[in-house]
Amino acid sequence: MKQSLIGALCAMAVMGGAFAQTPKKPVAKPTRQTAPAVEAKDAATIEFEKFRAEMEDSNPAELFEMKGEEQWKTKRGPNNVALAESCDLGQGVGKIEGAYVKMPRYFADADAVMDAERRIVWCMVEKQGFKFEDIAKTPFANETFTPDITNLVTYVAGHSRNMKIAVPLKEPKVREAYEIGKEIAAYRAGPYDFSCNTCHGADGKRIRMQQLPNLSTAKGAMSGVQGWPGYRMTGGVMLTHQWRMGDCFRQQRFPQPKYASDAVAYLLTYMIGNANGQVYKGPGIKR
């Protein structure tokens, strides 16, 4: 599939904190190394920040929001029903204000904890009559194609701009999803012994120049939530949080998580839940 291309530039992997430990066996002297003069560190990031406001102010993500709005309101699918008149994102049928920041949540009709994308897919299948397999075949955008679900998620997310994240963690089923998600984030396996936490479990780390948010803190978790769905400058494609989770697993050298599955929903519950109380700014723009 093509979305793998998007990450192709991405020089990822980890040679880890091994050397940080005092070596026990041979007598290497772990004298503190002096870094070369410049922390060229984040010169790029700092410079980019200056242009951040302008970039966010005119974000091509809005084009996908527009398309999503049309698709949300149009009667579609074998059942010829509009999502606007059939889909309940937890705030009542067709209501999208603030829905995105209050997911994942538990939906009794599906008996599942669902993130926004999973829920909209569920509506497309259950209400509009689309086939899940068809949606799951090409769930993410590439340079020549943007799936409807991506537009729809972007549209819905746009209606939670400047609202606080409020995942209902007190709800027992959501709480359980959170706890399982936390364990998924800590699970080390694969050829490189990586877990999500290998990169995202401590403050102040980066891969190359890329900052790695610490997902166990509210601020860190929020930076993993902020800007998704996001317009990716590389390739100029609109990508969702579901995609982001999958790409993390790719870089973790894991097999692929199934689209709109429990595993992804639980991981998102952990991550977004940790960001509760933080303000979501809407669809973003990503490097």
């Binding site: 002297k29 004298t31 998600g181 080390r188 692929q256």
Partner: protein
């Protein structure tokens, strides 16, 4: 192979030794969900989801295994390091630098036929000429200048790249030699990058 048996035995021991209740059953549920909800793609086969003995110990202890167990298992990891038959541990630092730059390898989108990179700059500062470096691991700038190039240091450096878990059981660094990601010559070149007085790392 003795090593594997030993590992398995230790992991089992650990299961008995650690209070099961402390984990809740979320970990078990998480593993079940992972097994159910992942699919193979490209070279990333489903068997990658299974923990080996070391991973299981680290996962179960939050990467803080009891000291005695960690030491025994580290010794076992170290015993598995295969050193070059010719006894030479330092190769060509220039080749090492190229290898350190490459982040390729083992993802479902990587061509399994292509050589795997060292991934070093992703996490470490190394040569001062490369300013785009990660900080998951410590800076390795002046690694050799600070330590010299004695036989002992060369052996340490080689084994640490080969299997970092020989020194720190739950290190975040992959076991590059142990899993066969990096071959003997490549590890030698990386040792040279870190230790050779001519390498920019030590200038």
């Amino acid at each position: 192979m003795t090593k594997n048996i030993l590992l398995a035995a230790m992991a089992t021991l650990l299961l008995i030794a650690l209070p099961a209740a402390a984990e809740g059953d979320y970990r078990a549920k998480a593993i079940a969900v992972i097994k159910k909800d992942f699919q193979p793609r490209g070279q990333a086969s489903i068997d990658r989801l299974a923990e080996d003995g070391l991973q299981a110990v680290c996962n179960r202890t939050g990467n803080k295994p009891p000291k005695s167990l960690a030491e025994r298992m580290e010794a076992d990891q170290l015993a598995g390091v295969r050193y070059p038959a010719d006894g030479k541990l330092m190769g060509d630092w220039k080749e090492g630098e190229k290898l350190a730059q490459s982040g390729r390898g083992f993802t479902w989108s990587d061509d399994p036929g292509l050589p795997v990179g060292g991934n070093c700059y992703n996490c470490h500062q190394i040569s001062p000429k490369e300013t785009s470096f990660g900080t998951v691991g410590p800076s390795l700038y002046q690694f050799g200048k600070l330590r010299g190039t004695s036989a002992e240091i060369q052996k340490y450096t080689y084994s640490r790249i080969y299997n970092s878990k020989s020194y720190n059981l739950c290190s975040e660094m992959p076991r590059f030699g142990h899993i066969g990601a990096l071959k003997e010559k490549q590890i030698k070149d990386l040792v040279a990058l870190l230790l050779d007085p001519e390498s920019p790392v030590n200038k």
